[in-house]
Each structure stands twice: as C-alpha cells, then as structure tokens.
C-alpha cells in the first residue's frame, strides 16, 4: 500500500524510496493495544536495539496528523486519541421527554402570573419552601429566565418567563393568560375565595421595574448552573 503518505506534501517524497520502517508498525501496535499511555523508555525496551524511538514517534505522529486518530503526547507519554475535531462522533445525543414535577409546574405558573418575582415571593404564594431544584429545572427548560435583582435586602434574583415559554404554551403574550374571571368561569377557581383575592395581570415586559436592578455579568451563568452558595445569598 504505497499511498499511505498524505502527510507532507513536498517535504518527503518517501513513498518511492525507503519502505515503511518496521519500528513504526511495532510502535503503532503497542500504542494501540496498551491500556495506558506509554513512555519512550518502555517503548524502547521492546524495540530492536539502536532504534531512535523519539524520532520514530515523531514520524508516526506526522503520519497520523491528517487521520481520524492522532498520536499525542500526554504528560510525557504517548497514546493514540481520536482527532479532537471528530469528538462529536463519539457522543450520542438523544432527546428525552420528561414530565415536569408538580412543584415545578406550580412554580412556573406563579412566575408566569407574578413576574418579576423572587424565590422568597414564590414561597410566600405557594406557602411552601420552593426547592432550588424546581427553579433549576425551569431554567433548564428555558421557559424562565433571571431578569434582574430586586432592590431589597439580599438583592434576590427576580424571575420572569421567556419567549420559549410563550411558544411552548402557544401563547401570543403572557397577557393572554386567563385572568380571575376566566379562571372562575372555566371552573379552575371556585367561588369560595376570600374578598380581595386577585389574580395579577401578568406582563413579561423585559424592561426592568422600578424595584429591579439589572443582573450583574456573573448572574446569568449562576442562574443556569448555580453553585450551592447562591441559595444562601437569596
């Protein structure tokens, strides 16, 4: 198989001349089969006396440079690795449909109607401590987003819904969410409500409210994969 060398265009017209050195075969077999990267000393041990292991490795590395597998040196030891531009080949992405938990749906509903709203406010409305998990799951869905920080002690993050929320639930605007009378009319709310009970008129206007500060640069990252300290912050 003479056309092995695609590597160096002009550098080395070696196809014709010298045959592929046996030590390259030996090296590639050892490196392929070994369960760990190998250092040059242990490779040299198995090669015929007098072989310049380092030079042979460099040559092998060059041979593989344009291939789907590269010869790389890691911590001074050599090993074959899939070419980094092909890493996508080695992952399988699947979509997995999951149902939101009841707590997450309630939290989402409260965010939708009461936005911008902080976690403490959600808890007050729900009357239960909202687990951090619910908010995280909702952030993962992309249906809610951190909007800003409330101008109040602790400066808690305020949440609101995103465009993805509207599109998932087929809403033209959050203002289309049914109000008190509609909820009553559809039987979702019954009559036994205390006087003064109201359902807010939701708005997802991205403009910050008077009592909101903008998020700081780091906040968005935190919001999407928050480290545990954040809980304490709020």
């Amino acid at each position: 198989m003479p056309k092995l060398k695609v590597v160096m265009p002009d550098d080395e017209p070696d196809n014709a001349g010298e045959p592929r050195a046996e030590e390259l075969r030996l090296l590639e077999a050892m490196l392929f089969a070994s369960a760990e990267p190998l250092d040059e000393a242990s490779l040299a041990e198995r090669l015929p006396q007098g072989v310049d292991v380092h030079a042979a490795l460099l040559r092998l590395q060059e041979e593989y440079a344009t291939r789907g597998v590269h010869l790389v040196r890691i911590g001074g030891k050599w090993t074959f690795r899939t070419a980094s531009d092909l890493s996508w080949l080695l992952s399988k992405e699947t979509v997995e449909t999951r149902k939101l938990s009841r707590a997450a749906i309630e939290t989402l509903a409260i965010i939708a109607y009461h936005q911008p709203v902080t976690r403490a406010e959600i808890e007050e409305i729900r009357g239960v401590t909202t687990s951090k998990g619910s908010v995280d799951v909702l952030l993962e869905t992309g249906w809610i987003r951190p909007r800003g920080r409330r101008k109040s002690p602790g400066r808690p993050v305020t949440y609101g819904t995103s465009e993805a929320f509207l599109s998932h639930f087929g809403l033209d605007a959050v203002g289309d969410l049914p109000g008190l009378e509609e909820l009553k009319g559809s039987g979702l709310l019954d009559g036994r409500l205390p006087p003064g009970f109201s359902v807010p008129m939701p708005s997802d206007d991205p403009a910050l409210h008077d009592d909101e500060d903008p998020l700081e640069p780091g906040d968005l990252d935190l919001g999407l994969a928050p480290p545990p300290e954040r809980t304490g912050e709020e």
């Binding site: 077999a29 392929f32 089969a33 070994s34 369960a35 760990e36 990267p37 090993t79 074959f80 690795r81 899939t82 080695l90 992952s91 399988k92 992405e93 699947t94 979509v95 997995e96 449909t97 999951r98 149902k99 939101l100 009841r102 749906i105 309630e106 989402l108 509903a109 409260i110 939708a112 109607y113 409305i125 729900r126 009357g127 799951v137 993962e140 869905t141 249906w143 998932h168 639930f169 087929g170 809403l171 969410l177 049914p178 909820l183 559809s186 979702l188 709310l189 019954d190 036994r192 409500l193 205390p194 009970f197 359902v199």
Partner: protein, 281 residues
Amino acid sequence: MNPDEIQFEADLAADRATSEPALVVDVEGFEGPLDLLLALARQQKVDLAKISILALADQYLAFIEEARKLRLELAADYLVMAAWLAYLKSRLLLPETNAPEGQSAEDMAVALALRLKRLEAIRDVAERLFGRAQLDRDVFRRGQPEPIAHIKHPQYSATLYDLLSAYAQQRQKSALAHVRLVKRTVWSLAEAREALERLIGRSPDWARLDEFLISYVVEPSLAPTVFASSFASTLEMVREGVMEVHQQGAFAPLYVRKRQPAENRVADPGGVAAPPADGKE
C-alpha cells in the same frame, strides 16, 4: 497385546494429562472407548477408511483383557464396547448367510470406521481452531477505548392546562390558608379571662378595665379584640359571682374588682354596688 503396545499406551496416557476434572471415564488417560479405539487404529498407520476393523476389535479386546488382569476398574462404556466388538467380530468371521435384521456386519464395521473418522476430524479442526490467532493472546483490541458518550437532552413537557390548574389550585389553597392566619390575631376568651383573673387577684380595689388593658395590648390593632374578649369574660365572671363590675354611666370607663363579701360593699370610686353593667366600651 505385546509389551511394546503397553509401553505405547503409557506414553499416550502421559500425553493425556489434562485438567479435566472428575466424570471423565479415564482408562490410562483415554477418554472413553472411542478414544481408545482411535488410538489403537492410529497404530495401524493407515487411512481410517481402510482400517481393519477385525484387527482393531482384536486389539481392543486384548487391551481390555490386560486391563482386567491388572484389576483396573473399567467403566461400563468400555465393557459395552468390548461386548459389541466381540459380537461384531463373530459376525465378521462368520459367513454372512441371511442378515438377521437390519445392518449387515459390513455396515456395522463401516459405521464404526466413520465414527472414528468423525472423531479424528473434529480433533483435527479443534487443533486448527486453537491454532488461530486468539484475541488477547495473539491479537489485541484497543487498549484505551474512548466510549461513546451518551448525552441526554431533556425535553420537558407540560400543557397550558397543567399550568393553569396548578396555578388556580395553588392560589386557592393559599388564599384559604391566609384566612386562618387572620384568626390567630384574635385574643381568645380564655386568654382574656386568665388576664382578668390575674388582675383582680392582685388588688381588692376597683381597677379600670381599659387601663389594665393598655398594659397588655402592645399592638394597637389588637385593642378592639382584646377589649371585646375582656368585656365578655368580665360578664361571664360576674355571672359566676367571682367579680364585680361598675360603670358610672353610658360610655364611662368600666371598673372591675374581686367580688367582696356582702357587708362591706362600699362604692370606692364614688359609686354604688353596681348591677351588671350593660355599657359598652
């Protein structure tokens, strides 16, 4: 069986040393009568197809005879084969008159030869199979596989109905819970009575109910409920005869004291022994 042959068997037996545990019928290393027959046949050094079954039968029977002399315990397999071979031998030697039933002696001999051939053939291919390059011995697979990572993208589903019903239920539940919370701010009759008892127990003189209340009420918004409960308790205690209440006139302050013995009922703040007042705070 001559001495050479016995020597041969011994050598073969050494070859057969295998790690096969129990259950193998092992006569001097042979794995059964067929194996023994095959070994004997190989001594004839001819193609198994051309083997003399008669000679083979003789050798086998001689071997068995020898083994019995040595009092080796022979497995039934060997003896059955010996009996069968003796029978085959007699049939082969006798002129074939009329085959009793089924196979002729020749057919039986051919079938035996075929079985030997088959065993030999399978041994041959077994050897060739194990002569192949074997994985993890001669050839090797990837030492550091890079497994395919499975990345799951969750896609959440929820309907607008889920959302609205969750919201409605949640709001309704907490709205009702709030009403209960408001009730808590009421000063109960029991609380009022306990406070009154402490008050009148402390002084035998008339005390002004509202003055006393002020020391209790921290939160101004609580005043009405404290007043109402205290007044109701007062009436109750008067009815029980443990307390007296006095009021100068409509909307005047209320005075309370511990019920006095009948003889020294003196109006202290300048009043008469009061009948149960009906004034309001």
